[in-house]
C-alpha cells in the first residue's frame, strides 16, 4: 500500500542479498515531493545498493517500490529513466574520449534519418545548461574537462531525460568546500524548479547544511528517518554507528626530532604527460605526522607514486636520511625501512588472488626468513602470517583465505600489518581509511599515532579533511600540483583549509612552515 499523496517515492521492505551478505534488509524509504533528502550511513551500510535498486540496476529479492502512488517494476535503468528518475553516480559514468554532448545524448540520441542530429543535440544541451545554471563546454572531451564540469555533465544527463527525482551518490567526495557550496546552490535551484533530490553521503556537516530530512541506514537496515532541524550531528552519528562515536582522535603532543625525509623542487608528470607535481618542496621530521590536504586529483597521487618509486620524476630531488633516493625503484625504497600504505589497496596494495600468506610478504618476499637463495620458506611465512593476523585482528578466514574474500577494512588492516611489522622509520599512508568500517578506522589511526610516538616520520595523504586535521601535526595544502601553504594543525581549521584547498593563500593566522 502506498502512503499519502505528497510522497513521490515509497520504497517498502526492500531486501537485496549478495553472496554472503544481506546488503539491504527490509529497508523502508519514503521521499516527499520537492524535498532534499539525505540518505546516510557508514561505508557498507547499504545506501548505494538501495539506490541501485531504485535505479533499476539491481533486482530486489524482496519488497516493493511505489513511484507517484503507483507500484512500479524496475527492470533496468531505462525503466527508471522513463519514470523520471535520474542518477548521478559516485564514480562518474562518463566516456572519456567522447564529448560532453555525446555523453549527454548517449542512449537517447536525436536523429535525422540515419545520422545523429548534432545540431539539435547541442541546442538542447545549451537550453538545460542555461536554465539551471550548469555551465559546460558542449564540444569538449570528457578527459579534458575539470571534475566540477564533469559533475555538471552528469546532472545535465539526468535533466535531459526529464528527471524529476534526482539521486546523487556521494557527490561531494571530489569537490573542494567552495565547489560543494556551488553544488548546494544547484540543489536549491533544482528544488525551486520542483525537483526532488536524494543524496547519499557520510558527511554529517553537509547533511545539516542542505537536507530537509534524513534517513539513516546501518548494516543494511533502515534505522530511522528524522527532520534535519530536530537533530544534531552527534545524534546522526550515533544512529549511523549504533553507539557513541568519538569524532576526534586522541593523541598526545608530538615530539619531533631531526628531519628524516624531504623533497626538493620536485616535478612529476601524470599519465598523460601533463605536469601534475609542480616544483614541490616538503620536509618530514622523525616523530611527526605531516598531512597533505587537498581534493583528489591535485597531484597527490603522482607525488606519492614518485616518492615510492612507482613513477619517474622529471626534475628535483627526493632525500631520505640525507641520501638522494630520487631514482630508486620501489624495491630499493622498501629496503630503506620505508613503508607505504597505497591509496588503491586492490590495485597496488594486494594481489587479490593470492592468499593472506603470500600477501603478507609482498615486497619483502625475497628477504629472510621468507626466502633464502631464491627458495621460498613457506613454514616461516605461515608462522609470520599467523602472528600478524592475530596481532592486527585481521578477520576473514585464516591465512589460506584469498585476499579478495576479505572486507575492505580487513584488507586494509592486512596491509597495515604487513607494512608496520617491518618497523618502518618512514611511513607513507595514502587514503588509509577510505572505504573502511569505523572500528577498523579507529584501529588504523591508533597504529599510525603509535608509529609516530615510536619515532617514525609519517607522511599522510587524505581527502577526508577531518582525518587530516585530527591525525596531523603539520598540514600542507596541495592545489593543482603546488603546495599552497604549510600550517600547524593546532592553529587551523576546516574553513581555512577549505579556502586553501581552492588555491587562495592563508589570510590570517597559521605560521607558515617550510
Amino acid at each position: 500500500m502506498p502512503r499519502e499523496d505528497n510522497y513521490i517515492l515509497d520504497m517498502q521492505n526492500i531486501t537485496k542479498i549478495f553472496p554472503g551478505v544481506k546488503a539491504n534488509d527490509n529497508v523502508n524509504l519514503s521521499i516527499k515531493e520537492g524535498e532534499i533528502h539525505a540518505l546516510v550511513g557508514e561505508n557498507g551500510a547499504g545506501k548505494t545498493t538501495l539506490m541501485n535498486v531504485l535505479y533499476g540496476l539491481y533486482d530486489p529479492d524482496g519488497g516493493q517500490v511505489f513511484y507517484e502512488g503507483e507500484k512500479v517494476n524496475l527492470n533496468g535503468p531505462q525503466d527508471a529513466i522513463d519514470l523520471g528518475i535520474g542518477m548521478v553516480h559516485q564514480h562518474f559514468m562518463l566516456v572519456d574520449p567522447l564529448t560532453v554532448t555525446e555523453n549527454i545524448i548517449l542512449g537517447s540520441e536525436p536523429r535525422s534519418g540515419l545520422m545523429l542530429d548534432q545540431k539539435t543535440a547541442k541546442r538542447e544541451v545549451k537550453e538545460i545548461s542555461d536554465k539551471y545554471g550548469l555551465f559546460v563546454d558542449p564540444g569538449a572531451k570528457i578527459q579534458d574537462i575539470s571534475v566540477g564540469m564533469q559533475q555538471r555533465v552528469e546532472i545535465i544527463k539526468t535533466l535531459y531525460r526529464g528527471a524529476e527525482l534526482l539521486i546523487f551518490d556521494e557527490p561531494t567526495a571530489v569537490l573542494t568546500p567552495q565547489e560543494i557550496d556551488e553544488l548546494f546552490e544547484i540543489f536549491r535551484s533544482l528544488k525551486e524548479q520542483g525537483k526532488t533530490i536524494i543524496f547519499i553521503t557520510h558527511k554529517l556537516k553537509e547533511v545539516k547544511e542542505i537536507s530537509d530530512r534524513i534517513t539513516v541506514l546501518r548494516s543494511g537496515k533502515s534505522i530511522d528517518t528524522v527532520n534535519t532541524e530536530e537533530v544534531s550531528e552527534e545524534d546522526v552519528a550515533e544512529l549511523m554507528v549504533g553507539r557513541q562515536v568519538l569524532l576526534e582522535v586522541e593523541k598526545t603532543e608530538a615530539k619531533p626530532g631531526a628531519e628524516i625525509f624531504n623533497v626538493e623542487n620536485l616535478n612529476v608528470k601524470d599519465n598523460r604527460g601533463i605536469p601534475a607535481v609542480k616544483d614541490i618542496s616538503l620536509s618530514v621530521r622523525k616523530g611527526e605526522i605531516l598531512g597533505i590536504a587537498g581534493v583528489e586529483g591535485n597531484g597527490q597521487s603522482e607525488l606519492i607514486e614518485a616518492i615510492t618509486g612507482l613513477r619517474d620524476i622529471e626534475s628535483g630531488n627526493i632525500n631520505l636520511r640525507g641520501k638522494n633516493i630520487s631514482n630508486y625503484n620501489a624495491r630499493q625504497i622498501k629496503r630503506e625501512k620505508v613503508a607505504h600504505i597505497p591509496e588503491d589497496r586492490q590495485r597496488r596494495g594486494l594481489i587479490m588472488d593470492f592468499d593472506l600468506k603470500e600477501n603478507i610478504i609482498l615486497g619483502y618476499h625475497d628477504l629472510e626468513p621468507f626466502s633464502k637463495n631464491g627458495i621460498m620458506k613457506y613454514d616461516n611465512i605461515a608462522q609470520y602470517t599467523q602472528d600478524l593476523i592475530e596481532k592486527y585482528d585481521v578477520r576473514g578466514g585464516g591465512m589460506e583465505a584469498q585476499a579478495k574474500n576479505l572486507s575492505g577494512g580487513n584488507q586494509q588492516k592486512l596491509i597495515v600489518a604487513r607494512e608496520f611489522s617491518h618497523d618502518p622509520e618512514f611511513l607513507i599512508a595514502s587514503q588509509p581509511t577510505r572505504g573502511v568500517d569505523v572500528g577498523s578506522i579507529e584501529f588504523i589511526h591508533k597504529q599510525i599515532i603509535d608509529r609516530r610516538d615510536n619515532g617514525a616520520g609519517v607522511l599522510l595523504v587524505s581527502a577526508e579533511l577531518s582525518e587530516v586535521l585530527s591525525l596531523s601535526d603539520r598540514i600542507a595544502v596541495i592545489f593543482e600540483g603546488k603546495i599552497v601553504d604549510i600550517l600547524n594543525a593546532s592553529e587551523t581549521d576546516e574553513r581555512e583549509l577549505g579556502k586553501l584547498m581552492t588555491g587562495s593563500k592563508a589570510e590570517a593566522g597559521g605560521e607558515s612552515n617550510e
Binding site: A23, I351, I375, L406
Partner: protein, 370 residues
C-alpha cells in the same frame, strides 16, 4: 585440517571440470563422426585400441605424449605469469632445427658430449624464440598473441622452407641424418645395452614398432622442475604475482619485465626441447612436418591441465592417447582431424566451465557491498 580439505576440494573441482570438458568434447565429437557415416562406437573403440590396446600401444601413447607435455608446459608457465604463448609451434621448430644441425654437423664428438650439446643448443634457440616476444611485450607492450603467431610463421619460413633446402643432401625434405652420437636412446633398442637388458620388463620394450624414447622422461623432469619453480621459488612467486596483478607486483618491488622475459624464455626452451626430442629421438633429422601441430595442441593440454605442471602431464597423456588412437581411427576410415576438433572442443568447454568456477567462487565470497 581445514586448509587441507579446502585445497583438496579445489583440486577435485579442477579435476572434475577438466574431466567434464573432455567427456562433453567427446560427446560432441560423435556428431562429427556421424558425418562420416561411420559408427561412433567403432570410432571410439578404434581410438581406445590404438592408444591402450597393447603394451606397444601404451608405450607409443607415452611417446606421443612427450612433445605434448612439453608444449603444454610451454603454454602453462607463461599463462601463470599472465601471458599467452601461442608460439610453441615456432619455438619447437627452431629448437628442433638447431638440434638437427648440431646433430649432423659435428661428426666426431663422443656421445656424452654430443647429445647434451645438441639438447642444450636446441633449448637455447627455442628459448630465444620465446624470449623475443617476451622482450617485445615487456619493453614495447606488443601483444604476445600476435607476436608469437608471427614468429611461428617466420620460423616455418626459416626452418622448413629455407633451412632444409640449405642442408638437405637427399630428395627427402629433411636435414641430413644425425650422427649416432647425438641420437636419443630409444626403448626398442633396450636389448643392446647390457645393463638395461637385464631389467625385468626389458623384453617388452624390444618391439620394433615401439617409438618411445628418453625425451619422455626429460619431459616429466621438466614438469617437476617447472612445478618447483612456480610454487617454491621467489622467481615463481614473482611470476605469479605479475600474472595476477602487474600493478600490485610493481608496488611489491617486483620487476615485471624480468618476470615476463624469463617466463617466455623458459617456455621457449621447453617447447624447444619438444622439437629436440622429435629430431633426436623420433625422426633422427629435421624433417618437414615433424611439428605436427604440437604447439597448438599444447594449448589444449595446458588448459585441460588447469595450467598446473602436474595437470599438464595428465593432459599431455590424454592428448597423446588421442593422437595415438587417432591413427587407428584413420585406418578405419575416419579422418584423424576429428582429434583436432576434439581438441578445439576441449578448449571451448574448459573456457566455458572456467566461468562456472568463477561463479562458484563468487557465491562463496562476500559480494557486492563494499
Amino acid at each position: 585440517m581445514n586448509k587441507y580439505s579446502d585445497k583438496i576440494k579445489s583440486i577435485l573441482i579442477d579435476l572434475g571440470l577438466s574431466l567434464l570438458s573432455i567427456i562433453v568434447a567427446l560427446i560432441v565429437g560423435t556428431l562429427f563422426i556421424y558425418l562420416t557415416d561411420k559408427s561412433p562406437v567403432d570410432a571410439y573403440s578404434a581410438l581406445y585400441i590404438g592408444a591402450f590396446g597393447s603394451f606397444g600401444a601404451i608405450a607409443n601413447t607415452l611417446w606421443r605424449s612427450t612433445p605434448l607435455i612439453l608444449t603444454g608446459l610451454a603454454v602453462a608457465l607463461p599463462f601463470r605469469a599472465g601471458l599467452f604463448n601461442i608460439g610453441a609451434e615456432g619455438q619447437l621448430l627452431m629448437g628442433g632445427f638447431t638440434a638437427g644441425i648440431v646433430g649432423f654437423y659435428f661428426t666426431s664428438l663422443p656421445a656424452f658430449i654430443h647429445l647434451p650439446f645438441a639438447i642444450i643448443a636446441g633449448m637455447f634457440v627455442g628459448g630465444l624464440w620465446g624470449g623475443l616476444p617476451g622482450l617485445l611485450k615487456a619493453k614495447m607492450d606488443v601483444h604476445e598473441v600476435i607476436a608469437t603467431i608471427m614468429l611461428n610463421h617466420i620460423a616455418i619460413a626459416l626452418t622448413i622452407n629455407y633451412g632444409i633446402n640449405i642442408f638437405r643432401n637427399t630428395g627427402r625434405p629433411a636435414t641430413p641424418r644425425i650422427m649416432e652420437s647425438a641420437a636419443m636412446f630409444k626403448f626398442k633398442n633396450i636389448m643392446d645395452y647390457p645393463l638395461l637388458s637385464n631389467l625385468p620388463f626389458a623384453e617388452l620394450f624390444a618391439q620394433p614398432a615401439i617409438r618411445l624414447h628418453i625425451n619422455f622422461f626429460l619431459a616429466l623432469i621438466a614438469a617437476v622442475i617447472l612445478w618447483y619453480l612456480l610454487f617454491k621459488t621467489t622467481l615463481g612467486y614473482e611470476m605469479r604475482a605479475v600474472g595476477f596483478n602487474p600493478d600490485g607486483a610493481e608496488y611489491g618491488g617486483i620487476n615485471a619485465s624480468k618476470g615476463i622475459i624469463t617466463a617466455m624464455f623458459i617456455s621457449g626452451a621447453v617447447a624447444g626441447l619438444a622439437g629436440v626430442g622429435e629430431v633426436l629421438g623420433t625422426h633422427l633429422s629435421f624433417i618437414n612436418g615433424m611439428d605436427a601441430g604440437y604447439g597448438f595442441t599444447g594449448i589444449a593440454v595446458a588448459l585441460i591441465g588447469q595450467t598446473h605442471p602436474i595437470g599438464v602431464i595428465l593432459g599431455g597423456l590424454l592428448f597423446g592417447a588421442l593422437a595415438q588412437g587417432g591413427l587407428e581411427m584413420q585406418f578405419s576410415g575416419i579422418p584423424s582431424e576429428i582429434v583436432m576438433l576434439i581438441q578445439a572442443l576441449v578448449i571451448f568447454f574448459v573456457a566455458a566451465l572456467q566461468v562456472f568456477k568463477v561463479y562458484l567462487a563468487k557465491r562463496k565470497a562476500k559480494g557486492g557491498v563494499e
